[in-house]
Symmetry: C2
Amino acid sequence: MPTAALPVWSEIRGDLLRMIHTGAWKPGDQIPNEVELASTYGCTRSTVSRALRDLAEAGFLVRRRKSGTRVAANPTRRAPLEVPIIGDAIKAAGHAYRFELVERKLKTAPVNVTQALGMPAGIDLLHVQVVHRGGNLPLQFEDRWLNPLAATGISQADLATIAVDRWLLQFAPLGNATIAIMAEAAGEDIADALDLRTGDPVLVVERTSFRLSKPLSFLRLVHRPGHRITTAI
Amino acid sequence: MPTAALPVWSEIRGDLLRMIHTGAWKPGDQIPNEVELASTYGCTRSTVSRALRDLAEAGFLVRRRKSGTRVAANPTRRAPLEVPIIGDAIKAAGHAYRFELVERKLKTAPVNVTQALGMPAGIDLLHVQVVHRGGNLPLQFEDRWLNPLAATGISQADLATIAVDRWLLQFAPLGNATIAIMAEAAGEDIADALDLRTGDPVLVVERTSFRLSKPLSFLRLVHRPGHRITTAI
DNA sequence: TAGTGGTCTAGACCACAAA
DNA sequence: TTGTGGTCTAGACCACTAG
């Protein structure tokens, strides 16, 4: 019974990974160079190189010209943290999705917002507040400040019909962003919007995003207690 | 003044990425195939393939045999979430690091722990509790259940001298794990350990890890209010 | 200076999935 | 059936850097 025929480079990667996991190669150890491994596995250098590059990108190996390849000494694993469209995530969880536009107004942005976006204090930004519901339960409170100069066309968008995050994705797919996750006590406004008691612990995700190197949006996503952000290494 | 000489595949990647960011190629659009792109850029198919593969791994493109390459319709960005050694992180933040071993005892594990680890209920695991301090301020409360059968040698380890997480890294580098992040209200024990008031919002990270496909450790990391987990896309 | 990884070529065959 | 991406080879030259 043959196992599933994986590509050679993938087999090699698994083999090398096993050497690390079992402790045959310990953190800091130097491993054979590409030419040696190629002859060991009976393939070309390109093929082992593919495996080694993959392991290096995953953080298992550290590669340097001339000095060779070593097992990472201080391996910091990186778990992929997904950033989905809110509505899609709620639907995927099996709930009926609905959202309410609470506010949509050009206002003077608070200092913490302009600072995060690297914009001058006192500037006017588009303030958008949305409550996202799954099966009538308010799951997320979205509080967003948008730069109308970077998000041209947002003025014409009907944000009561299309969720802001979806609109942004269509308009400005995949820019840069910084993300912060924290726990906070719900204030009165949040408690009101999410139907909680003041002081209840809420999970907050702040995202500052840029489009073509220009400030685009500062977002605070407040999650209902019990919400878990999950991932796997 | 020549710009820094990037590899060809990297230049191509940047070029293609620009097509996406500027909206020349929109989500769902099909882009030219490898052979066309190779002739466009005057290089071999391998080189454009490298660029395309990179963009696909980053989530910008979706590639399928026969049907070709398209701009991702529902692009989910992945932010790298780092999992550092606690002591290193505290030192890197500029604080003096110190930790206290609160408990280290073989006990019957609670159901939620055995369930997460996929172990039979009622089994005995090594329970370890540690308070991590930065500059005398308790920053994290670590509550861990270890499988002594997978972590052979933990019985001999002096966990008052070496932090558990560091010991584990030496012993079982880089296994698999699932991670969950949530907000909770501090219970009495947590409030006591972290010098908080009961009910204060704390950020909790749960990590269930495996070594060579065997259950290794269930960890709850409770962070002091104000702590932020940060990353960038 | 020499050893190592990084890149690139010009091919080839194969696996998959849409028509 | 056939177009597409996925893999692999056997070379080559280059870039970086430790000794």
